[in-house]
């Protein structure tokens, strides 16, 4: 009861499979309930045979079961210790293992207890008193699910089974009432009778039937019992009256659990958002273990040359939330992680290349001892649509051995530039063959860590005299380089899609003198807009032609950890290396423009590497 299982927490396909099993179990239980009703009806008939004899007043001494007359000297009968009735020798059943005996009704009562499983429910009620007596876990699950479904108004409620169970319950209670009148039973039967009386009060039609039973039984008691028996019956009645008061309290307690179900239903909405936050907090935990995970990742065992098997997953991009979702489903025909011991504890790990940091790592749980694992997990990345084309998805399968030893089992690398996210076919899962670790990656796509937008101007003083200006320029270096860092985009963000980013600038003069500047930190922004000015004083245009300006973008780490380098760009003479790409040559031309056009702003977009 404390752990109420919620079928809503499972996937729809799994929920359907489980519900199908619960409906099959419901069929089995209904057949069993029918059988139990028949057994109890049969037992009631045996008791009624004994009740008929009490109506014949002229025969004072006769068997309580078969109505035969008991003799005065021979066949005087004996009193059954179970029911305190006098029975003849024909109506006794000797137990097999002992020499004790019971009358036929007591013996049949014992058999009915065995066959209906009453022994099991009595034992279980001792350990779980609050649980429904004959209720099964499947029935409880089904009821709670149907209750939730009726709230959602998807599946209509099913009143017929409830009414059937109520109709079935009443005859059982009446039979037990008669049973109680006939026998001296344990305290448990007192509770049963009290429960019967409680139900009797609520049902007027059954009251008439119960009263008839009581009237029918009273004459037999008056005739058959001695004075001591009558006193014990009176004591029993007193006990039942005392018991009724706690039962009323129990009724109130039973009403209390009915109120919690509605708060439980209200709590259906909050669990979804904690789950959502858990995904992000999991990413943060990854960040806090950068060094440990990096060490483990680098120490992965790649010696397994035997790469076999396939992996099934689906790729989906949610445009609204800029979320790339990889649904890892299953693998099959994997290689053994440990060949000698034939062990395989597989899990799946993904990266969005070229980002190989631990913050960009996603992985599933470990499935133990299987070459065909089922994961059914969704791994998510926060990526801008424009950046998807520059990324490659790496899906690799690993074996978790003893002492956190990892063995590579195969991988799949998919360039996302050619991936068709619009097509509906991409939504479905596909099988990909696992491949060994590639030695060299394709370098057709340039590796970039984003773009940096800057604005630059060289400020030179303008004097009235040409000659004096030339002389002053040679003597005093009073030129000025102004660089405004506007913003950046497509930076490699953290797992939660944010950054605490700042920019460092370093101007290296021809005499190896370094001028360093730094921008303020912008917190929790994926596309920061610093708009911060870097000013380098005391420089001339001739010096700048031989200088190098290096701009680096960093992600500030928290509490003493090292900042993470996101990307860098270089401007100047050294930046013009031979074999540079078009973007480098473009920035080189722009830099030349800054130097050749003093006192004019020049906008540049730098590619970060």
């Amino acid at each position: 009861m404390a752990h109420e299982v919620d079928l809503e927490s499972f996937k729809e396909l799994e929920r359907d499979i489980i519900l199908r099993v619960l409906y099959r179990d419901q069929t089995v239980q209904s057949i069993e309930e029918e059988r139990v009703r028949n057994l109890k009806t049969h037992l009631q008939h045996l008791r009624w045979k004994g009740a008929k004899s009490s109506s014949q007043e002229y025969k004072e001494k006769c068997c309580a079961r078969c109505q035969q007359t008991l003799g005065l000297l021979l066949n005087r009968g004996a009193v059954c210790q179970g029911c305190s009735h006098r029975v003849c020798s024909e109506c006794r059943v000797f137990l097999r293992k002992t020499h004790a005996w019971k009358c036929t009704v007591c013996f049949e009562d014992r058999n009915v207890k065995i066959k209906t499983g009453e022994w099991f429910f009595e034992e279980r009620a001792r350990k779980f008193p609050t649980a429904g007596r004959r209720e099964t876990a499947g029935a409880r699950l089904l009821q709670s699910y149907q209750r939730q479904s009726s709230k959602i108004s998807v599946v209509p409620p099913t009143p017929p089974p409830l009414s059937e169970s109520q109709c079935g319950g009443s005859p059982n209670r009446l039979q037990e009432l008669g049973h109680f009148r006939g026998f001296n039973k344990s305290v448990e039967n007192l509770f049963l009778s009290v429960t019967t009386q409680m139900r009797k009060l609520s049902k007027s039609q059954n009251d008439m039937t119960s009263e008839k039973h009581l009237l029918a039984m009273d004459p037999r008691q008056c005739m058959g019992h001695t004075e001591r028996r009558s006193q014990s019956d009176t004591a029993v009645n007193v006990t039942s009256r005392k018991t009724s008061t706690p039962d009323i309290l129990k009724a109130f307690h039973q009403e209390d659990p009915r109120h919690p179900p509605s708060p439980v239903l209200k709590q259906d909405t909050p669990p979804s958002s904690p789950t959502h936050s858990t995904v992000f907090s999991g990413g943060l935990r990854h960040g806090s273990l950068i060094s440990v995970n990096s060490t483990c990742t680098e120490m992965g065992n790649f010696d397994n040359a035997n790469v076999t098997g396939e992996i099934e997953f689906a790729i989906h991009y949610c445009v609204n939330s800029h979320s790339l979702e990889i649904c890892i489903k299953t693998c099959k025909n994997l290689a053994y992680g440990e060949d000698k011991r034939r062990k395989c504890n597989p899990y799946v790990k993904t990266y969005l290349l070229p980002d190989r940091s631990s913050q960009g790592k996603r992985k599933t749980r470990v499935q133990k001892n299987t070459l065909d694992p089922t994961f059914e997990e969704t791994l998510k990345y926060q990526v801008d649509p424009a950046q998807l084309a520059t990324r490659r998805l790496q899906v690799s399968v690993w074996h978790l051995g003893t002492l956190a030893r990892r063995v590579f089992l195969g991988e799949v690398i998919l360039p996302l530039a050619t991936w068709d996210f619009e097509g509906s076919a991409a939504q479905n899962a596909r099988w990909y063959p696992l491949r060994a670790k590639a030695e060299k990656y394709e370098e057709n796509i340039p590796q970039t860590n984003g773009e940096l937008a800057v604005r630059a101007k060289l400020v030179l003083p303008v004097g009235p005299r040409m000659l004096q200006e030339a002389q002053e320029d040679q003597l005093a270096l009073n030129g000025q380089l102004c660089l405004v860092v506007l913003g950046a985009k497509n930076l490699p963000v953290r797992s939660d899609g944010t950054l605490n980013s700042f920019v460092k600038g370093c101007l290296t003069l021809p005499d190896q003198q370094k001028l360093r500047v730094k921008s303020p930190v912008l917190k929790k922004q994926a596309c920061p807009q610093w708009k911060h000015s870097f000013v380098f004083n005391g420089v001339s245009s001739s010096q700048l032609r031989q200088s190098t300006l290096e701009l680096t973008v960093w992600d500030q780490a928290m509490f003493g950890m090292n900042d993470r380098l996101l990307g860098e760009a270089k401007l100047g003479s050294k930046g013009g290396a031979p074999g540079c790409t078009d973007s480098c040559s473009q920035s080189k031309l722009q830099w030349q423009k800054v130097l050749s056009s003093p006192n004019l702003w020049t906008d540049m977009t730098l590619i970060l590497h």
Binding site: H3, V5, F10, L13, E14, I17, I18, V21, R24, D25, T27, V28, I31, E32, E34, R35, N38, A78, V79, C80, Q81, G82, L95, R96, K97, T98, H99, A100, W101, K102, C106, R110, K113, I114, K115, G117, W119, F120, E122, E123, R124, R126, K127, F128, A131, T136, A137, G138, R140, L141, S186, R341, R342, Q367, K368, N369, T370, D372, T374
Partner: protein, 218 residues
Amino acid sequence: MTDGDYDYLIKLLALGDSGVGKTTFLYRYTDNKFNPKFITTVGIDFREKRVVYDTQGADGSSGKAFKVHLQLWDTAGQERFRSLTTAFFRDAMGFLLMFDLTSQQSFLNVRNWMSQLQANAYCENPDIVLIGNKADLLDQREVNERQARELAEKYGIPYFETSAATGQNVEKSVETLLDLIMKRMEKCVEKTQVPDTVNGVNSGKVDGEKPAEKKCAC
């Protein structure tokens, strides 16, 4: 199979790590077939089988035969279905605790499953049979028979080495569990009845027919 013509409905439940062979074991017992492919169980499932149970007398003679309807519950060993499967522990009258003889880890987890049983079963000491499955894979065996038998003796439960592939000991292990349940069933009912000694003494008196026992009617 859907008729109610039986004397007892007995519910058994198979539990153990994922991949030890619970589903294939039950499939071998109910249909006498072997499915080598591993399809992981989703949550919960059950199979049914009708068997005839012969009660044994004290002197060993054959007693009355009863029809028993077995409902064999199959649970998923994966962690994410744990809360669902443990809810069904309460309904089971007996348990088949299974591990894989080719997997030392599944044998070590038997202790964890025993703790789950004691917490969720219908009583503190339910009837359990320990089963080491995949006994036919001799070359891949990792669990020593002596280790497993010692663990079973520690818990006081029977131990069988079975193979769903060959059918070895499959029927025997389930019959042993059923026998334990039937005996417990009779014990539980006898306790709630009047003590036997009183009826026994009364029986002796009736046989003697002593005149001293005569009582006045009023």
